[in-house]
């Protein structure tokens, strides 16, 4: 198949090249390098690779000329940073594609990313902080008919690690019909969407005897509605047949269980007059979908089942993030989860009582998730996660801006095997003071209190900024309730136009780290980190 794709690409390239002579093309690209020199740290038990060094590098280039585009991505892990999936190693031309777009018509050959609906049925994407790149290697055709209808067909093998999965083949069709455009309704958007996805991967004769099939098909049906700021999205997914290893193999002698995956998602939102409200509810059962049955790496996913809850950007609020439970047979049998969230944003305008002279922004979030009482049920059983968040943001004066956050999080640490939860209360104060328009300092102070796990934590950060180029920071997160470990960090970043260089040293606990203007997810380590990124 690879040879076929390459031939297609070469053919398209020659055609594109001929075409490009009458349209002037342009090239864009980017380079990112993230290297860590690890040091020994007995206190945290931080991991170190052989040679105490890890480096992840990405070079991407895209060329556009009229409706033609082509691109490639080179990746090099020499070796991969600690905590990244083990299937990322060595250097390789991992992604390459050619695309032709002619108004409403588009053809892609090579690697491409795509998703159907919200991604519960199918999604291939790249997320470098997770080591995720499941780009499809194959072909895709799409067609739009005015504003009314669109259809997309795709075929290929999703990427796992450094190459396309050798035995997996995915075929899919996705269509959308806008009833509001068709019927000429004004002020209303109403559309119906549907997808079909077939996944093929050979299974062993033993699995086949138990009802497992090499070819499985799933579908998704969706409805989107919008009118005067109200938005409703509904999605039903049938994930097709899934195979799970049987924990009761000694009792009934079956090595595998065949389950039918399904999911329901409902989203409602309103925005207008400075108010944004967003309510979502989701139930999923046996919805895990893998690129390949044989791998247990985190980048082995063919769909997207994210946590629908508050998203935190402070490290201390990310100690125990919620992990969705789409159905598992490892440890215990749990068919899935049900839950939802409510998210409200409100802008108190300037001149109002609460808004004061400069206005005030408020955000409230509540989310809760349970595992299912039994297979096929919509009844919740054990609490998996609950959070309440209140955030306030206010410009106190010309020079000072304040952000306050209160967060209550209840987390089931056994993911539903038992009923035990850890309850924590967190407060964060984030103050920005501008000495001059381009010279400022930001101070972050946070406290987490809990009777469980490692008890109380506190953290602080000081950042000094000289816009637009320099930013220096020093931070510490301290577990004074139990381990007495300081997770200290200090560093700086320098930005000149499209190039950014950041150097830091410290102890890192796994989680989201934000400073110098950029956020990313980091695995746990102790050492010096050099990040260079540039685009052209």
């Amino acid at each position: 198949m690879k040879r076929l794709v390459l031939t297609l690409l070469l053919g398209a390239s020659v055609l594109g090249g001929l075409r490009a002579q009458d349209t002037k093309g342009y090239l864009v690209g980017s380079f990112e390098s993230n290297s860590i020199l690890y040091s020994a740290d007995d206190v945290t038990g931080a991991q170190r690779p052989d040679g105490n060094f890890g480096t992840n590098n990405y070079l991407k280039a895209d060329y556009y000329a009229g409706g033609f585009s082509a691109g490639l991505q080179l990746e090099a892990y020499q070796p991969a940073l600690v905590g990244y999936p083990g299937n990322l190693e060595g250097a390789k031309l991992t992604n390459y594609y050619m695309q032709w777009t002619d108004g409403d018509f588009a053809v892609t050959a090579g690697t491409y990313y795509d998703q159907f609906g919200s991604g519960i049925l199918f999604r291939t994407y790249e997320d470098r902080t997770l080591g995720m790149n499941t780009a499809m290697m194959g072909a895709r055709v799409s067609y739009h008919y005015k504003d009314i209808a669109s259809v997309k067909a795709l075929w290929g093998a999703p990427r796992l690690g450094m190459e396309a999965a050798p035995e997996t083949l995915v075929r899919g069709v996705d269509g959308s019909l806008s009833l509001s455009s068709l019927l000429g309704m004004s002020g209303t958007t109403l559309s119906l969407e549907g997808s079909l996805l077939n996944r093929y991967e050979p299974v062993s004769p033993i699995v086949e005897e138990l009802g497992g099939k090499a070819s499985t098909t799933g579908y998704s049906a969706r409805l989107n509605f919008e009118r005067s700021g109200f938005l409703v999205k509904a999605e039903y997914v049938d994930g097709g047949e899934k195979m799970y290893s049987n924990p009761n193999i000694l009792i009934d002698g079956k090595s595998h269980l065949v389950k039918n995956g399904n999911a329901q998602l409902l989203e409602m939102s309103y925005s207008g007059g400075g108010l944004g409200v967003n309510i979502s509810a989701r139930r999923m059962e046996w919805m895990e979908s893998k690129v390949s049955y044989g791998s247990s790496e985190t980048n082995n996913a063919l769909n997207y089942l994210p946590a629908l809850c508050a998203q935190y950007s402070y490290a201390i609020t990310n100690l125990n993030p919620y992990i969705p439970q789409p159905g598992t047979t490892s440890g215990h049998i749990n068919s899935g989860e049900i839950g939802g969230q409510v998210d409200v944003y409100y802008n108190f305008r300037r001149g109002t009582t609460l808004g004061g002279k400069r206005g005030m922004k408020v955000n409230v979030n509540f989310s809760t998730y349970y595992n299912l009482k039994e297979e096929g049920s919509f009844v919740p059983k054990t609490l998996l996660w609950r959070n309440v968040n209140v955030g306030v943001e206010k410009q106190l004066s010309r020079k000072m801006k304040m952000q306050l956050l209160y967060s209550m999080q209840e987390y089931n640490h056994s993911h539903g095997v038992g009923k035990g939860t850890w309850l924590s209360n967190i407060v964060v104060a984030d103050l920005l003071y501008k000495f001059t328009p381009t010279f400022s300092t930001r101070v972050e102070m946070a406290y987490l209190t809990t009777f469980e796990d490692q008890k109380d934590w506190m953290s602080g950060l000081v950042e000094v900024n000289f816009a637009p180029s320099w930013s220096l920071f020093a931070s510490d997160m301290f577990n004074h309730g139990d381990t007495k470990i300081h997770y200290y960090n200090a560093g700086f970043s320098y930005t000149a136009g499209r190039t950014r260089v950041a150097l830091s040293y410290g102890r890192n606990r796994a989680g989201m780290v934000c400073s110098g203007g950029v956020c990313r997810l980091m695995p746990a380590y102790t050492g010096g980190n050099l990040t260079v990124s540039t685009s052209f």
Binding site: V28, G274, Q311, Y345, N363, P468, T499, V518, S533
Partner: protein, 160 residues
């Protein structure tokens, strides 16, 4: 085979011009499909900012521009395009956040499948571009340090 592919690509690259706004499909606040090439109107330059719900500095930057927007618009004619790079799970949240942060003067776009982001080669957010009236990218910047917005305004003024 790969070498040949490389050679073919190099051939294409030989006739390159200045980077400009690519033509990809994104959604507006109502879920309608918008072609990014249509952002170029031949009259006003724009600031294009790629942001995400989970990216604090992005939100800080867009808030900072919003705070001074009315003053700036008196001095120079320009638009602000805020592109949410949030995927399907956060689109509704991104819409609510934009409303709750009072970004009503911005053109709000939602790049759910990351097509615009990839075509512009955005690796980190915040990533901001200044684009002239003809769609040519004249400046771009990665990351946000408070006060960095003044540099963008200087460039906008030069484009008048």
């Amino acid at each position: 085979m790969k070498k040949m592919l490389f050679a073919a690509l190099m051939l294409l690259i030989s006739s390159t011009a200045m980077a400009q706004i690519p033509s990809v499909k994104v959604e507006d606040g109502k879920g309608k499909v918008v072609n990014t090439a249509e952002l170029v109107d031949g009259k006003t330059p724009m600031i294009i900012s790629f942001w995400a719900v989970t990216c604090k500095p992005c939100i800080r930057e867009l808030d900072a521009i919003n705070d001074v927007y009315l003053d700036w618009i008196e001095e120079a004619n320009f638009r602000v395009v805020a592109v949410s790079t949030d995927d399907a799970r956060f689109t509704a949240q991104a819409r609510s956040l934009a409303e709750g942060h009072g970004w009503s003067d911005y053109t709000l776009l939602y790049d759910k499948n990351g097509d615009f982001k990839r075509a512009m080669n955005v690796q980190f957010t915040p990533q901001v571009y200044v684009v002239d009236k003809d769609g040519k990218i004249v400046y771009s910047h990665t990351g946000y340090t408070p006060g960095g917005e003044y540099e963008l305004f200087e460039i906008i003024k030069k484009l008048q």
